[in-house]
């Protein structure tokens, strides 16, 4: 088991008094647990507007319970227990190696932060935490795919120093 399984990653949150929910003090990122899934599911529904309970249960089974040395489903929570909702965001990634010959690398494929706690360091804590997981797993690069019109994710990943990568996503719709 990785060291980071036991030690939450901490990031200092900047309190914003104008937000309905303020995150005072630190945000801790840790591995997801079964009792987090309803909150993750609710957060995703709030952000995307689409309820996907079966999807989230499946994701938890795959990324929260199996092969945890290469799959990382992390959640962020306030260290202050009275803060509600407890789960402030989540990030999911995995090691992908040799797909179409590519060198092993960490891929982030989901990231979400509660809209009421944005700009408070939650995304930063999650990004840092999964970076540590990837580094512990032995990779030196991480990648992600972001929709061209998703300005929020574009700005976040750019602000974290990520640059245009060498991959092109191709797709085909069935006739």
């Amino acid at each position: 088991m990785l060291k980071s399984d036991h030690q939450p990653h901490l990031a200092t949150g900047v309190a914003a008094s104008t937000h309905a929910t303020s995150v005072k003090g630190a945000v801790a990122a840790r591995r997801v647990r079964a009792d987090d899934v309803p909150q993750v599911f609710a957060l995703d529904e709030r952000v995307t507007g689409v309820a996907k309970p079966d999807y989230w249960q499946d994701i938890f089974e795959r990324y929260g319970k199996h092969r945890l040395n290469e799959r990382f489903f992390l959640v962020a929570e306030s260290v202050e227990t009275e803060i509600r909702p407890r789960i402030l965001g989540f990030i999911i990634g995995e090691l992908r190696a040799w797909e179409f010959g590519s060198e092993p690398c960490g891929w982030v494929f989901a990231l979400s932060v509660d809209p009421r706690t944005r700009l408070l360091g939650v995304g930063q804590a999650l990004f840092d935490a999964i970076s540590v997981e990837f580094k512990n797993a032995g990779v030196a690069k991480m990648r992600t795919m972001v929709a061209r019109d998703n300005r929020l994710h574009l700005m976040f990943f750019r602000s974290e120093g990520m640059m245009a990568g060498p991959y092109i996503q191709l797709e085909k719709e069935f006739d």
Partner: protein
Amino acid sequence: MTARSNITIPERIGGAAEVNYGQPAAPDFGPLARDRIPVRTMIASDLRALIAIDRRITGRDRSIYFERKLADTLRESDVCVSLIAEQDGAPVGFMMARVDLGEFGRIEPTAVLDTLGVDPNYRNRGIGRALLSQLLVNLTTLRVERIRTEVDWRDQELLGFLDHCGFYPAQQLCFEGAIDVEI
């Protein structure tokens, strides 16, 4: 042309020509390739063949990767969408895919093609097309309406193949960064 006041309305577009029912079929690569090349669902005992084909292509031993991928395909997927093409009774090509739902808020089921290999001795015989064609048929029955893949822009051969098979750039941008955190 039909003249009417000051505008001209074309009666047809393009030159006059009879429909040639004897000409080659439209570039639907699927049915013919599938008919000629047997394609079947991947099974556990294909592992050695996968590794051998891949070693002939890449010159590397990626046994661990294929063991993991095959385990994913056979045990974790609800539906097996990975295929093997055979010639002379032996595997000569493979294609591995998975079905995803909901990455970054996507809600429609999408198949992800991530591994493809054709034995170098059987290149240019329609093996890749047969595999892809069968994969699309299988996915259609699962009500998956889209397939995507991620390719290094320098991999001209793979890009050319996928272009020929009707893939086009998606509205997604790849971001990459070095991991420089302190542990």
